[in-house]
């Protein structure tokens, strides 16, 4: 019972993901031109971006916490949340390309949404390059925390504002009146929202495992 109290959110993640797969594939979906059955990719592709955003938000929160407290523990959280967020982002862009291949005709059509998300991911990749270039733990933590704030502040307009100002193939952007994630119809929403939470919790789970391993490593290195 005590275990369930501590790990309930992991159980919830598993249940939501099973629900996503089963309901996402079986439930009635709107019959739309071009999209056809691929509309179901919505429950897998879009949650990657939502998950990425939430994980990177956690990362920047811990970066600010580190800057305020100077505790390396907070930096460990920040880097592992960023790691998990980046993985979600890469999965998002790859699944997006795959989906686009069938709906837009090309893997990469240099669409503003695609370009901007690639830039956002590159900014976060630079975060890890930056981290690799320091010897001293605190120096690395301090400078990369500052960079983390910049990266997050740059990512939000890149993903959510700039593509909306120009024409884009991506739904919900520019002159394209495709379906918008927030105005989905109620049937899709019944799977989509649980899917977003489920995938995010899975990312949180993996990130927490990595954080715990890092903290164990820190402890061992201190002892040696």
């Amino acid at each position: 019972m005590e275990k369930l109290k501590k790990h309930w959110w992991k159980v919830l993640a598993a249940l939501l993901l099973f629900y996503t797969v089963i309901a996402g594939l079986l439930m009635d979906a709107p019959r739309l031109h071009i999209l056809n059955e691929t509309i179901r990719a919505l429950h897998f592709h879009v949650p990657m971006w939502f998950g990425m955003l939430a994980l990177l938000l956690l990362s920047v929160v811990y970066a600010v916490k580190y800057l305020r407290s100077g505790e390396l523990r907070h930096d460990r959280y920040a880097v592992e949340f960023a790691n998990a967020g980046l993985i979600f982002g890469i999965l998002g862009i790859v699944t997006g390309m795959f989906w686009a291949h069938y709906t837009w005709g090309k893997f990469w059509s240099f669409d503003p949404k695609q370009n901007m998300s690639a830039i956002a991911l590159l900014i976060y990749l630079a975060y890890f390059v930056l981290r690799g270039s320091f010897e001293d733990d605190h120096q690395r933590a301090r400078i990369s925390s500052v960079y983390n704030i910049f990266a997050f502040a740059a990512m939000v307009p890149l993903l959510f504002i700039l593509p909306r100002l120009t024409s884009s193939l991506h739904p919900g952007n520019g002159g394209n009146p495709g379906f918008n994630a927030y105005d989905l119809d109620s049937n899709l929403r019944m799977v989509f929202y649980p899917a977003v939470i489920g995938w995010f919790l899975l990312g949180l789970w993996f990130a927490s495992l990595r954080v715990r391993l890092r903290l164990v490593q820190d402890k061992l290195e201190d002892n040696l």
Partner: protein
């Protein structure tokens, strides 16, 4: 005052860029002109796909649980080691 005017102007420009959202209606659910995998579903083969993906998801989640337990054991080990004495 000028600030408020500026903010009001911003709100005006929102309308200019407002997107027309294409609503999904009940008709879209009944639109038989759009090809869907109806046959595939009627044959019941979709359950095979759901079954395979479900099993793989189950396997991966079990793997995550096992890794989680291993990390917990490692944490306990390090905790005990640092509180007692250094071994190995």
């Amino acid at each position: 005052m000028r600030k408020i005017l500026l903010i009001l102007c911003l709100f005006c420009s929102l309308n200019v860029l407002a997107q027309e959202k294409q609503e999904i209606t009940q008709q879209d659910y009944a639109n038989q002109q759009v090809e869907m995998a109806d046959r595939f579903r009627a044959d019941g083969k979709i359950y095979v796909v759901v079954g395979v993906i479900g099993l793989i998801l189950g396997g991966l989640l079990t793997y995550a649980v096992i890794i989680d337990r291993k990390v917990s054991r490692l944490e306990n080990l390090v905790e005990n080691r640092s509180s007692k004495h250094l071994v190995g």
